[in-house]
């Protein structure tokens, strides 16, 4: 009975959709959206970076590479870049030390509900609006702010400790916002460390600092590196914290680029600076990808 046989065979052949087609069908929506929403605007920005001036009104379109000479033509940008870099390094460094310590305490000294609650408290900065978070710091660290009020409770004639509109103020705001990344990545890395490994080190004569620097830090290195990348990359481009907490000293690559788009209306320069930074970021990734790949295989 050929008709029946083919009818029975049909579902079987239909089920045998080629696997590449299934993969493509599943990936298509997200890739289409990424193309539309991210890659196209990014490509447009990349094109802008080779223009002489913002193509508005009836200005002629002139192609040039001059925007990429900005660091040479305007040497003050080197200072700005250095300021961004040092803010990035300080923020990442402080996050690494504080975040690793917090993750270690969460993993080693707590359990069950207490651990969950403390972890949620760590995540709180994520759930607060960034602008509110940053502005609330201005209340604390301005002259005569909460910090001064608090200190003068104990020492009425204390000089003001306010440090609003300084680089440390910017770093403080950034650390507050980005610390959870480091806590989480280190927490996950430390969770996978076998308790017996630490005990083995102790039984062989290791004191706590040997256990920390020879065992825990190396084993949590993938977490530290991941956290550092997650923090360093957005921090060197940050513009909100430098503007609000840095005042006049808060000139960073992020604020300069923002200014080009919103104030100076020099989109080509803004794009060129942004893509220069992207190149730096990719270089950072390339440098650390070896470390991350090594950790993925262990």
């Amino acid at each position: 009975m050929p008709p029946e046989a083919s009818a029975a065979g049909l579902p079987a052949t239909r089920r045998r959709m080629p696997s590449w087609l299934a993969t493509a069908a599943l990936l298509l929506p997200s890739y289409a959206w990424l193309t539309l929403a991210v890659l196209l605007p990014l490509a447009a920005m990349f094109a802008f970076s080779f223009l002489h001036a913002t193509p508005l009104g009836n200005k002629p379109v002139v192609w040039t590479l001059e925007q990429y000479r900005a660091f040479y033509d305007q040497p003050y940008l080197l200072g700005v870049a250095w300021a961004s870099l040092s803010i990035g390094l300080w923020t990442t460094g402080i996050c690494a030390v504080v975040g690793f310590a917090a993750a270690l305490a969460l993993v080693r000294a707590t359990a069950g509900r207490a651990r969950e609650t403390l972890l949620i408290l760590v995540l709180l900065p994520f759930w607060t609006n960034g602008l509110v978070r940053v502005f609330s710091w201005t209340m604390v660290i301005r002259e005569g702010g909460f910090l001064d009020v608090f200190v003068r409770w104990f020492w009425p004639s204390a000089p003001s400790l306010g440090f609003l509109y300084t680089t440390p103020a910017i770093v403080l705001g950034l650390v507050h916002g980005y610390l959870p990344y480091m806590v989480l990545t280190c927490y996950i890395a430390l969770l996978s460390v076998d308790e017996a490994v630490i005990e083995a080190a102790q039984s062989l004569g290791a004191r706590w600092w040997t256990v920390l620097f020879k065992i825990l830090v190396p084993l949590a290195a993938p977490g530290l590196v991941t956290g550092a990348i997650l923090i360093f990359v957005p921090v060197i481009g940050a513009f909100m914290e430098p503007r609000i907490l840095g005042g006049r000293v808060g000139v960073t690559m992020g604020t300069v680029i923002e200014d080009q788009f919103t104030q100076a209306f020099n989109w080509p320069l803004g794009s060129a600076l942004a893509f220069t930074m992207l190149a730096v970021v990719l270089a950072v990734f390339a440098t650390f990808s070896g470390v991350l790949r090594r950790s993925a295989t262990t």
Binding site: D194, A196, V197, E199, A200, A201, Q202, S203, L204, G205, A206, R207, T210, K214, I215, P218, L219, T298
Partner: protein, 352 residues
């Protein structure tokens, strides 16, 4: 005077008594197994000796020095864990050399000792590899080398073979024994595997609910168990409970002889008889009077395992188990009437 002395050690977790009044000497150079079911406190006792757990009461002395208040890193112990616990980011040589580095031994001197230790565990030339490149058995050898290279006062083994498969485990038992004999280290070995304990140890300590119920040479503990728990946990046993009548015990109408000193007439006692000590014969061919004890019984089932046979039997209300060699290839059928016999010295009086 080295070795390990545990004096009146007790440990409670909340209301749970984990260890109660443990006093025990682990002689220098001997291999002692702590044997018990999970929850018997054997691991806690080992961790108290190591220093990971502080006892609520009592004292621990290692090599003559009181270490009760001494932290782990200052105790000079070697420890091997069930999970191997190698440092995954260090080479085999760095793993083995870790303890030497903590003792200020570095460079050439350390390398020589690391090589010697790797030689001892039969892994020469493995120094440059990483733990993830080794098999489970090899990892455990490295862990052993790492623990013995520091010449510890005591070697503590926390179920080190239970993560290995059977064949590898037997191989490692032989290796472990050889290494212990060569190094002469006082060794305390925690296990729940009775066969492993009997094979490896100079002394076996049986733990039950936080107490050491019996400690002695393997044969001594096996042949003369002091309590019902010890008889049951180490090997198999038939328990016969009855009343003392004269110089024997009356059990289910039969008179059972023992060489143990019996309590007063009329007292209730329990005798333990190992299943392999009992001879089984068909009722019609049995000769009476050859051995002290004989008991008529009926075979209820036979478990055939090739080399050996396990008979489950009934004698009145008693249920008995007998191990027999499969010597003539024709096991007795279920329902057969048989006579069980054993000598008086194999009826061991036990507590409880």
């Amino acid at each position: 005077m080295s070795g390990v002395d545990v004096t009146a050690v007790a440990k409670n977790y909340g209301a749970t008594k984990v260890l109660t009044d443990i006093t025990q000497n682990f002689e220098s150079g001997t291999f002692t197994s702590l044997l018990g079911p999970s929850g018997s406190g054997k691991t806690t006792l080992l961790r108290i000796i190591a220093g990971f757990v502080a006892p609520d009461e009592g004292a621990v002395r290692i090599a003559g020095a009181d270490v009760t208040g001494v932290p782990v890193h200052a105790r000079n112990i070697g420890m091997v864990f069930q999970s191997y616990a190698l440092f995954p980011h260090m080479s085999v040589a760095a793993n083995v050399g870790f303890g030497l580095g903590r003792r200020g031994i570095r460079g050439k001197a350390a390398k020589a000792q690391v090589d010697e230790a790797l030689e001892m565990v039969r892994l020469p030339g493995f120094g440059g590899r990483y733990p993830r490149q080794l098999s489970g058995g090899q990892q455990q050898r490295v862990a052993l080398a790492r623990a013995i290279v520091i010449r510890p006062d005591v070697l503590l083994l926390d179920e080190p073979l239970s993560a290995l498969d059977r064949r590898l485990r037997q191989e490692m038992q032989v290796e472990l024994l050889r290494i212990q004999r060569e190094s002469g280290l006082t060794t305390i070995f925690v296990t729940h595997d009775q066969e492993e304990a009997l094979t490896l140890s100079d002394k076996v300590a049986i733990l039950d609910r936080g107490r050491i119920v019996q400690m002695g040479r393997p044969a001594e503990v096996y042949e003369r168990p002091r309590t019902r728990f010890a008889a049951e946990f180490l090997g198999d046993a038939n328990f016969l409970t009855g009343k003392v009548r004269g110089s024997a015990v009356e059990i289910a109408g039969a008179t059972i002889m023992t060489e143990d000193r019996l309590p007063a007439e009329g007292a209730t006692v329990t005798l333990a008889v190992r299943p392999e000590k009992i001879a089984i014969r068909p009722a019609e061919t049995a000769r009476s009077g050859a051995v002290e004890n004989s008991l008529p019984a009926t075979v209820s089932s036979v478990i055939y395992t090739g080399t050996a046979l396990t008979y489950m039997l009934r004698s009145g209300d008693l249920h008995l188990k007998v191990f027999a060699q499969n010597s003539d290839g024709s096991p007795l059928a279920a329902g057969s009437a048989v006579v069980l016999s054993w000598s008086a010295r194999h009826s061991v009086m036990v507590e409880g």
